[in-house]
Symmetry: C2
Subunit: 147 residues, 2 copies
């Protein structure tokens, strides 16, 4: 399954005329395999073993390329650095305000609100972004024990 994701991604690069370098291959592979919505620096550190000479700039450059081609989404929260998410089917993010964990969940698209907003504002709608914030089960446990 993640194999086909990788293959599809590589095909996308090919058809859009983006060269497939070992670094790009590795970054994509890592993004697809991880569940962690990593930062650029985390990706950089994760691939340090395989590519001791890789520059941080390469990670940033390629994440930008992937985003432009639509393979990757950039998530910006309040904190310092962006997180990156390989684009699969539609899903939203539930974020723990205590420990920062991000969990994916699926929900039917919010067409209704998109349509409403378009009517009210006169904008053409392209996309939307939704995140839900709360406390994850394990942080709930911890705070229960502390009390």
């Amino acid at each position: 399954m993640s194999e086909t994701h990788l293959q599809d991604a590589l095909d996308t690069l090919k058809t859009t005329g983006v060269r497939i370098t070992p670094q790009r291959h590795a970054i994509l592979e890592y993004l697809i395999q991880t569940m962690a919505h990593p930062t650029a620096d985390e990706i950089y550190k994760a691939l340090e073993g395989k590519f001791p000479n890789m520059s941080v700039a390469t990670v940033y450059n390629n994440l930008r390329v992937f985003r432009e081609v639509g393979l990757v989404k950039e998530l910006t929260f309040g904190d310092a650095s962006s997180r990156f998410d390989f684009v699969t089917n539609d899903h939203y993010h539930m974020i723990c305000e205590c420990c920062g964990t991000i969990v994916d969940f699926h929900y039917p698209g919010l067409d209704e609100i998109e349509h409403f907003a378009s009517q009210v504002t006169g904008f053409d709608v392209h996309s939307h972004r939704l995140e839900i914030y709360g406390t994850c089960p394990s942080c709930k446990d911890v705070s229960a024990k502390v009390q």
Copy 2:
């Protein structure tokens, strides 16, 4: 109307034990009056005339204070700097991907999806964030003319 907003905000500061300084007064006033969802730097520049000696740090510090007290929301998009929004009643943001304009629109809360997500993930839900991206009417006009 914005008068009462300001008064309410000052009351909130008083009851939470946050000192009311001329700088804080001015920042709040500016945030309430503007429709522009400004960045910290824009606020700083807007108040330069009134407070020639004010430091950027003061703007950042006070925006953090206001956020902690619940008077202000911090909006982080893909671009470099955060934008700040005085909290009134619930509204969402429609953002033009062409020129960056942010327009508010009202919509009944998304309780259903919050509840669903809570069920699926086991999180306690605190809040959510929704933005819709598109093209504003004036950018549509421009691109129509160019063609």
